[in-house]
């Protein structure tokens, strides 16, 4: 890493299209300042985020993965986020168990009205990732 | 060239091998495997679950890297193994006999430069099996011996406190010459002891294939035998028998993409197994070997028939790994004997 380009964590963010993706749009149109480190991927529902997506993002070099959905009770599909909560809890536990920094995986509930919260979630995530440096444990490119 | 080496001077011999990286079996995480020779290697291992075949034929080999900007021609960068000199200590004679077989495959028709480049800098220092390392050994029935030098550069024989060191090839002689004064001249008594130990090793009872010479014809006659499915009934279709085999050489080639804009990646060779259903499955879904029985037949026929028809020798060296490590007890000796006995 050269001095001119300080390390910037790269985040892959899986955002549900009904709430969190709309929330991120709101942050944008409201001109709320937040770091541009996250690459958003819109998904139908947080419940559809397979653990495979998270592992794959880390394998391809993401420094952190964010999954964000509707608040409990607000899921467009009634209970998708309840499934996400359970399934991704296991992912979180497994990563930590293997000795991967727990900060590298994060979940949030962000509604379409919470542009400011979305910005804060990303801001916090970037700041928590920065001291960890590049993610090289699951990254296929850094053997 | 023959000599004696004090066992506790083995480390000094290794240290004297200037320019060579040395490897020897070590026990780590509960299993034996070939590791960079540590401070004080002791050759007191049973056979390692994994043979030393990965030295010349690693499980993963990058052929070349590619990079392509959309709309432009791809750029290919060949990757060649760096030239190294590596010497592997403690190779059992069965694994030694695997070496010329692998050499044959990778030089037949055309030379495989990747295999050859690694093989060129490799030397094998074998260890005679004074007693069989496992009850699953059957080297003698397939033309081998617990004291075979085939494929080895040097053969060590354990004399208790010392090794009897015998060069097999010119490379082996060079390795011994590097030892200089560490090696002592053997006397008549030691030579006699080696002869006695070797004779005793050969006399140890072993199970085995009943008539290996007849196997190609018998397996041919038994090709359509219903016994194949019968014998494969418990098979779970894993790759243990082939991945642990010292002579199995089948591989896959795939493009591994690491970036898309621009396209970046590597073309990679990885070990593959005839026991996996996707090994022979066509894109159309048609699979010429679509049952466990047909895949067992392929593995066993390759070892005891096709290889013999092509190269005049059996591909199996009787190390017994596919027997001892099979999760469900599929036993190549029994398979050959039962098929042969049925025709």
């Amino acid at each position: 890493m050269s001095e001119q380009t300080p390390y910037e964590p790269r985040i892959v963010a899986f955002l549900c299209k009904w709430c969190s993706s709309a929330g991120s749009d709101l942050a944008g149109v409201s001109r709320i300042q937040y770091p541009a480190n996250a690459t958003p991927i819109t998904v139908a529902c947080s419940g559809g985020v397979s653990p495979q997506y998270i592992l794959s993002a880390l394998r391809k070099g993401a420094d952190g993965v964010l999954v964000s959905g509707c608040h409990i009770g607000d899921c467009h599909y009634m209970e998708g986020n309840m499934h996400a909560r359970r399934k991704l809890y296991l992912v979180k536990e497994l990563l930590e168990f293997a000795g991967v920094e727990p900060e590298r995986f994060r979940m949030s509930w962000v509604s379409a009205a919470e542009g400011a919260k979305f910005a804060q979630v990303v801001r916090d995530f970037v700041e928590d990732l920065r001291p960890l440096g590049p993610q090289d444990k699951l990254n296929a490119e850094r053997p | 060239m023959e000599a004696l080496l004090d066992k506790n001077r083995l480390k000094d011999w290794i240290a004297a091998l200037d320019g060579w990286e040395a490897y020897a079996p070590a026990r780590q995480d509960g299993i034996w495997s070939y590791q960079p020779a540590g401070d004080n290697p002791e050759l007191n291992h049973p056979n390692t679950p994994q043979p030393p075949k990965g030295f010349a034929f690693p499980q993963r080999e990058i052929f070349f890297k590619f990079e392509q900007v959309k709309g432009e021609a791809p750029r290919l960068t060949a990757v060649s193994p760096a030239p190294t000199f590596r010497v592997v200590f403690g190779v059992r004679p069965c694994d030694g006999r695997a070496v010329p077989r692998m050499d044959r495959v990778f030089s037949d028709h055309v030379d495989d430069g990747y295999y050859q480049a690694r093989r060129d800098g490799l030397a094998y220092v074998g260890l005679a099996c004074n007693t069989p390392p496992s009850r699953h050994c059957f080297c003698q029935s397939v033309g081998g011996s617990p004291v075979s030098t085939d494929g080895l550069d040097v053969l060590l024989t354990d004399l208790g406190e010392r090794y009897f060191v015998a060069a097999v090839t010119d490379t082996g002689k060079a390795l011994m010459q590097a030892a200089g004064a560490l090696l002592a001249k053997p006397g008549a008594a030691e030579r006699k002891e080696v002869a006695r130990l070797h004779a005793a090793a050969v006399a140890q009872p072993q199970r085995g294939v009943n008539d290996a010479a007849a196997a190609p014809a018998k397996l041919k006659a038994g090709f359509d035998s219903p016994l194949w499915e019968e014998l494969a009934r418990a098979c779970i279709g894993c790759g243990i028998c082939t991945f642990l085999c010292p002579t199995c050489h089948c591989f896959d080639i795939n493009d591994e993409v690491t970036g898309t804009v621009p396209l970046k990646g590597s073309r990679v060779r990885t070990w593959d197994s005839c026991q996996f259903p996707d090994f022979t499955m066509h894109s159309s879904g048609h699979n010429p070997r679509d049952t466990l029985g047909s895949r067992l037949r392929q593995r066993v026929s390759h070892k005891f028939r096709y290889f013999h028809e092509n190269f005049g020798m059996h591909q199996c060296t009787g190390c017994g790994r596919c027997v001892s490590e099979c999760p469900v007890g599929i036993d190549i000796v029994r398979v050959v004997n039962e098929i042969a006995g049925s025709v």
């Binding site: - | 030379d111 010429p288 028939r305 096709y306």
Partner: protein, 274 residues
């Protein structure tokens, strides 16, 4: 390290023709090499084509060895690599290594009658032989081509086949009758029986779906063709093309080296693992 046998040459797509549309689409590609590149081949040989990032696929060379300017491949869209080929545009660059495999013993067939029997995309592997024989028409006696597809839209090389008429007897067929089709309706083996080519001093070369080949061979034998007079090609999944990766074997033979061309006399001795 010596020659890198796994490193492809680069070739440019010079021409693309859509032969057959639909789910089993076939396109024909002409690949040209830049200065000094390329290789010579014989009738029946194959080449390993690459689309980087997708992988490799073994495809028969469908142009005659007499053509030096380009190599032609007719590729059916089946899987990962072949689908990527169907996405290519003229000017795109692909990888190619070869030639691989044995060839049809064309020289030994001079002075003989040749009967070609193809079905579906099975016309491509025998096309170089047809092209060569027509180019050297005087060296051969009667040449007959039987070829069929499921429907008129599945007939590949349609225009080229029409051009052969005069020099060659062409008998086309489709599996199912359809308006506007006035040639034979029915399967290829049936068309063969309807025309009854004579076995004397003849060689029959067939390629197509396995089930077609099976009945063609039965019918040829009933017409009096001997096993040695019947040639076909077989295919298996391939990775290396060099007899090392171990998957395309039929008995002791690696098809990528000892095949793909076999006389029925040879092939019937091998296990049917293809």
């Amino acid at each position: 390290m010596g020659d890198n046998i796994y490193l492809p040459q680069l070739a440019r797509v010079a021409h693309i023709k859509e032969e057959v549309a639909g789910e089993r689409a076939i396109k024909t590609f002409r690949l040209e090499f830049d200065n000094g590149g390329g290789f010579e081949h014989e009738c029946g040989q194959c080449a390993m084509l690459s689309i980087f990032g997708r992988g490799e696929s073994m495809i028969s060379i469908a142009s005659s060895p007499l053509i030096r300017d380009y190599k032609q491949f007719s590729i059916m869209r089946v899987g990962r690599v072949t689908s990527a080929f169907h996405e290519l545009a003229v000017g795109d660059v692909v990888g190619i290594r070869g030639p691989y495999g044995n060839s049809f013993p064309v020289d030994a067939w001079r002075g003989k009658n040749l009967v070609f029997i193809g079905g579906g995309c099975g016309l491509a592997p025998i096309w170089p032989v047809i092209q060569t024989a027509v180019a050297q028409r005087a060296d051969f006696r009667e040449i007959t081509v039987f070829y069929g597809g499921r429907s008129p839209r599945d007939i590949m090389y349609r225009a080229e086949l029409e051009k052969l008429r005069g020099a060659v007897d062409v008998h086309l067929s489709v599996d199912k009758a359809e308006e506007g089709w006035d040639a034979f309706c029915g399967f290829v083996p049936a068309n063969l029986m309807a025309k009854q080519p004579a076995p004397d001093n003849a060689i029959a070369i067939t390629c197509g779906p396995p089930i077609m080949i099976k009945y063609v061979i039965e019918n040829l034998r009933s017409l009096g063709f001997k096993d040695e007079q019947i040639y076909t090609t077989i295919e298996n999944k391939m990775k290396c093309g060099l007899g090392k990766c171990g998957r395309c074997n039929v008995g002791k033979d690696y098809v990528c080296v000892k095949g793909p061309v076999y006389s029925w006399a040879e092939l019937k001795e091998l296990p049917a693992e293809y």
